[in-house]
C-alpha cells in the first residue's frame, strides 16, 4: 500500500450558526488529494453551509477548516481562490459574455492587473475549452447555450481557477440524465487524473454512490455517516436521515450499491376511533397489504398477525403503525409469536384472512384462528383455495374449515362493505370526506 496522500481539506469540529440557528454542529471532515467526497443529506442538512464555511463566506463559531494545513481565514482572498474553487448551486443570470471571456474569469486570482493575460492563463483556458467541447465556439455568448452546456461551462470556469480543491454545490441540479453523467464523469476524471480534491453536495445518492470515493451524510447539521458508498448506504440510514423506505440493491456489473426509493410513506389522518372495529388481519407475502390500507383508511383499528420480518405485509404494517406479530424470516412460527398473534386475535371484533400462501411454517396460524376466534366475525378474502396450499393437504383442510365459518369476500372493497353491513357500523353510512382518508406525504416525520 502506498501511504495515504496528505489531507487537502481538513475540517475540525466546525460549528456554524446563522444568528442563533445552528446550521452545522461539530462537523469534522477530511478530504485527501484526488479524493471525490460526496456530501449527502436532506435539504437543510448543512451541505451548503459546510461549503460556504470552507470558502470563508461564513465564519464558523467554533472549529476551523484548513486547506493544505492553513486555516482558511489566514489565506488572502486571492490565495483562497487559488486553493478553492466553488461552483454554487445558483448564480445570477449574468451578462451574455463570450465563452472565452467567461472561462477566463476563472483566471482572475492568477493574473495581475495591468498585465493583460499571461501565456499560461491563455493556455489553461484554451485547454479547458478544448476538453469541454467548446473549441471553435469561443466567441459565442454564454446565454446562447443550452442549460446543460451552461452548467458544463460553469464547471469549466471553476476548473480554470486551477485550484487543488473543488467545492461543487449540487452540480447536477436541473440537468437531464445525460448531462448529469457527463458532468460527474468529468469531475471524477479530473479528480483521478489531476489529483484534485472534489467535495460535491449531491442529492442523488445513486450518482453519489457511483462517482464518489466517500459519502459523508449530514443530518440537521451533524455528520451521521462517513465512508465508502457501500458501507454508508443502508436502509436504516435512508429511513433515519431521509425518511424514505428504499430497496438497496447491488449493481452486478460495477458492484456498486444503488437504491430504489419506494412509494412515499403514508400519513393517516387519525380516524375517529369510536366508529371503527377492532380488526385482526392474518396475512403474509403482501397478500394483506391492500387490505390493511383499506381498513385503516376506513377508520378501523387494525392489527396484523404472524408475518415474517421484512415481509411486504409487515413493512406495510410498519408504515401504517399497525401492531403486528412478527417472526424472523424463513423459520417456522415460534411459540412467542403465536402467543402474540392469539392475543391480537382475541382482542379483535373481526378477523380477516388474507389470501396468503399456506406452508408448513405458517399453517399453525389457521389452527389458532379456528381455536381462538370462536364467535368472532370471520372474513375470508378469497376466490378459492386452489394453488395456495403448500402443506400437502393440511392447509386446504384448515381453509375449508375456516371457509365454512366465514363470510367470503372478493377483495378489500367487498370486505369493507361486508364489515359495514354486518355491524351496521357507521362507517357504512359515513361519507364524512376526511375521516380516515390516507394522504400521501413526502416523507415520514423525522425522529427528533
Amino acid at each position: 500500500m502506498t501511504p495515504a496522500p496528505p489531507a487537502a481539506l481538513t475540517a475540525t469540529n466546525v460549528t456554524v450558526r446563522y444568528r442563533a440557528v445552528p446550521a452545522l454542529t461539530h462537523v469534522s471532515l477530511e478530504a485527501r488529494a484526488g479524493e471525490f467526497v460526496a456530501l449527502a443529506g436532506p435539504n437543510g442538512s448543512g451541505k451548503t453551509s459546510f461549503i460556504r464555511a470552507a470558502l470563508g463566506l461564513v465564519v464558523p463559531t467554533e472549529g476551523t477548516i484548513a486547506i493544505g494545513g492553513v486555516p482558511v481565514p489566514e489565506l488572502s482572498l486571492a490565495a483562497r481562490a487559488r486553493a478553492l474553487a466553488w461552483m454554487p448551486q445558483e448564480e445570477p443570470a449574468g451578462d451574455n459574455v463570450s465563452i472565452r471571456d467567461y472561462v477566463g474569469y476563472g483566471r482572475y486570482a492568477h493574473s495581475q492587473r495591468f498585465v493583460p493575460e499571461g501565456v499560461r492563463d491563455r493556455e489553461i483556458a484554451e485547454q479547458i475549452l478544448r476538453d469541454f467541447g467548446f473549441a471553435g465556439r469561443e466567441s459565442v455568448g454564454v446565454q446562447e447555450l443550452s442549460g446543460g452546456e451552461r452548467q458544463r461551462l460553469r464547471l469549466a470556469r471553476v476548473l480554470a481557477q486551477d485550484s487543488p480543491v473543488l467545492l461543487l454545490d449540487e452540480p447536477t441540479a436541473h440537468l437531464d440524465m445525460g448531462y448529469q453523467l457527463d458532468l460527474l464523469e468529468r469531475v471524477h476524471g479530473i479528480a483521478r487524473s489531476q489529483g484534485r480534491t472534489v467535495i460535491a453536495a449531491l442529492h442523488d445518492l445513486n450518482l453519489a454512490a457511483r462517482f464518489a470515493d466517500r459519502i459523508v451524510v449530514l443530518q440537521r447539521g451533524r455528520k451521521v455517516a462517513d465512508g465508502a458508498p457501500a458501507a454508508v448506504l443502508s436502509p436504516a440510514l435512508l429511513r433515519d436521515v431521509w425518511g424514505v423506505v428504499a430497496d438497496l440493491r447491488r449493481d452486478e456489473r460495477s458492484g456498486l450499491p444503488y437504491l430504489i426509493p419506494r412509494l412515499p410513506v403514508l400519513e393517516v389522518v387519525p380516524p375517529d376511533r369510536s366508529r371503527g372495529l377492532r380488526v385482526h388481519v392474518v396475512g403474509g407475502g403482501g397478500s394483506a397489504a391492500p387490505i390493511l390500507h383499506a381498513l385503516v383508511a376506513e377508520g378501523h383499528r387494525v392489527s396484523l398477525g404472524a408475518v415474517a420480518l421484512f415481509d411486504t405485509d409487515s413493512e406495510t404494517a410498519g408504515e401504517l403503525g399497525i401492531p403486528t406479530a412478527t417472526e424472523l424470516p424463513f423459520v417456522p412460527l415460534g411459540d412467542e409469536v403465536r402467543a402474540r398473534n392469539r392475543e391480537l386475535l382475541q382482542e379483535a371484533d373481526a378477523v380477516v384472512v388474507a389470501p396468503f400462501q399456506v406452508g408448513p411454517g405458517n399453517v399453525a396460524v389457521l389452527d389458532d384462528i379456528l381455536q381462538v376466534a370462536v364467535g368472532k366475525r370471520l372474513y375470508l378474502v378469497d376466490t378459492g383455495v386452489a394453488g395456495r396450499d403448500h402443506t400437502g393437504g393440511v392447509g386446504t383442510e384448515r381453509l375449508r374449515a375456516l371457509a365454512a365459518r366465514s363470510v367470503r369476500v372478493l377483495d378489500s372493497a367487498d370486505l369493507l362493505r361486508a364489515l359495514a353491513s354486518a355491524s351496521g357500523s357507521p362507517a357504512a353510512q359515513s361519507d364524512d370526506a376526511d375521516r380516515g382518508r390516507v394522504r400521501p406525504l413526502e416523507r415520514l416525520e423525522k425522529p427528533r
Partner: protein
C-alpha cells in the same frame, strides 16, 4: 494575436460586423457633433467666423480681419471671440466632461448593483449632491464665488445617498426595483431639503434656480480644468476595475470566491461614482438619464464586457450631453432650456422601455 481577447477571428460573424459598423457610425457622429457644436448658441455667428476664431487660438482676439471681412466691426468681432472662446468652447468641454462622468458613473453603478436601470440620477446621488451644494447658498456663498467649495459640498451631500445605496444595494437578495425605489425615496427627501434651502435663499439669486435646472451656462476654463481632472482620474480607476465589475456579475459571493475583494472594490466604486457625480452636479446642475442611456448604447456595440463598457460609456455620455446641450440651445432660440429637458426627453422613454423589456424577458439562471 493582439492583447485584447475580442472575437477578432478570421471570418467574423455577422454580429461583429454590425457592431463594427455601428461603432464607426457613432464615431463619425461624435466627430461631426464636436465640429458643429461651436456653431450652436443663442447668438448667431457666421460659421466661417467661428472656425476662423478657433483657428486663431485663444489669444487672437479682436481685429476685424479675424472675423472674416469688413462687414464686421472690431467691437463685434471682439464680442464674438469672447463668446466663442469664453462661453461656447468652455461649455462644450464642460458638457463633454460632465457627460463622460455621468456615463462612467452609470455604467459603474449598473455593474456594481447588477441593475441595468441604475443611474446616478435615479439612485438619488445627483439630488444628494445638489442638496449638498445648496447648503453653500444658505451661507450666502454665490455660485460664481464658490469655486472648489461647490464640488466639495456636493460630494458631502452625495455621500449620504452613496452610502445608503451601498448598503441597500448589497444586503441580501433584493429585487432590482428595491434599489430604484430607495433612490426615488432619497431623491424626494433631498429635493425637499433643497427646496427649503432655495426658498430660504438669502441671495435671492435667480442664478441658483437656473443652476439647479442644469446647464453649461456657468462654464469657465477653471471649471473645465477641475472637471477634466476628475474625469481623467475617476475614469481611469473605474475603467481599471472593469475586471472586477465583470466578476461581480456572477454574484458577490462567487466574485469573492474567485479572489475579488468585493467589499473594498464595491466601496471604492461607489465612492468614486459619488465624487464624479458630485463634481458634475456642482458645475452643471442635476441632469438625468445620461448615466442610464450611455452604457446601454455601448453594450449594443461592444457587448457586456465592463472593461470596455465603462470607458466607452464615458465617451458616449460626453457626446450625449453635448448633443443635449446643443439641443437645449436650439429648440426654442434664443432661449436656452435646462439641459436636463432634452436628456429626459430621450432618457425617460428609454427607461420605461428597459423596465418593461426587463419584465418581459425571463431571467435565465447561470
Amino acid at each position: 494575436m493582439g492583447g485584447v481577447p475580442a472575437g477578432a477571428a478570421a471570418s467574423p460573424p455577422p454580429r461583429s460586423v454590425r457592431r463594427r459598423r455601428a461603432a464607426l457610425l457613432l464615431l463619425a457622429a461624435g466627430v461631426l457633433l464636436v465640429v458643429l457644436s461651436p456653431l450652436v448658441g443663442p447668438v448667431a455667428i457666421p460659421a466661417g467666423t467661428v472656425y476662423a476664431l478657433l483657428a486663431h487660438g485663444p489669444g487672437a482676439v479682436g481685429s476685424a480681419s479675424t472675423c472674416g471681412g469688413a462687414a464686421v466691426s472690431a467691437g463685434q468681432c471682439r464680442i464674438w471671440a469672447e463668446i466663442v472662446w469664453q462661453t461656447r468652447l468652455p461649455a462644450m468641454i464642460l458638457a463633454l466632461c460632465a457627460g463622460a462622468i455621468l456615463g462612467l458613473s452609470g455604467a459603474t453603478l449598473q455593474g456594481v448593483f447588477r441593475n441595468p436601470l441604475a443611474d446616478p440620477y435615479l439612485l438619488g446621488l445627483s439630488s444628494g449632491a445638489a442638496m449638498g451644494a445648496a447648503i453653500l447658498f444658505v451661507f450666502n456663498v454665490g455660485i460664481s464665488e464658490a469655486g472648489v467649495l461647490l464640488p466639495a459640498f456636493a460630494f458631502l451631500g452625495g455621500l449620504i445617498p452613496g452610502l445608503v445605496i451601498f448598503v441597500a444595494g448589497r444586503t441580501g437578495r433584493r429585487s432590482p426595483e428595491t434599489l430604484l425605489l430607495t433612490g426615488v425615496a432619497l431623491s424626494a427627501l433631498f429635493s425637499s431639503f433643497l427646496a427649503t434651502f432655495l426658498i430660504y435663499n438669502p441671495l435671492g439669486d435667480l442664478q441658483v434656480s437656473f443652476w439647479l435646472l442644469g446647464g453649461m451656462s456657468d462654464a469657465s476654463w477653471l471649471r473645465d480644468a477641475i472637471v477634466f481632472g476628475v474625469v481623467l482620474s475617476v475614469g481611469a480607476v473605474l475603467s481599471v476595475l472593469g475586471r472586477e465589475l465583470n466578476l461581480l456579475q456572477l454574484g458577490e459571493d462567487v466574485a469573492q470566491s474567485m479572489g475579488v475583494p468585493v467589499q473594498r472594490v464595491t466601496l471604492v466604486l461607489v465612492l468614486l461614482t459619488t465624487v464624479g457625480t458630485a463634481t458634475a452636479v456642482a458645475f452643471t446642475g442635476v441632469i438625468g438619464f445620461v448615466g442610464l442611456v450611455s452604457p446601454h448604447i455601448v453594450r449594443r456595440i461592444v457587448g457586456p464586457d465592463y472593461r470596455r463598457v465603462v470607458p466607452l460609456a464615458g465617451l458616449v455620455g460626453g457626446g450625449f450631453l453635448l448633443l443635449a446641450w446643443d439641443a437645449a440651445q436650439s429648440i426654442l432660440p434664443p432661449l436656452v432650456l435646462p439641459v436636463g429637458i432634452p436628456t429626459s426627453f430621450v432618457g425617460a422613454p428609454f427607461f420605461l422601455y428597459l423596465l418593461y423589456r426587463r419584465r418581459a424577458t425571463s431571467m435565465g439562471a447561470l
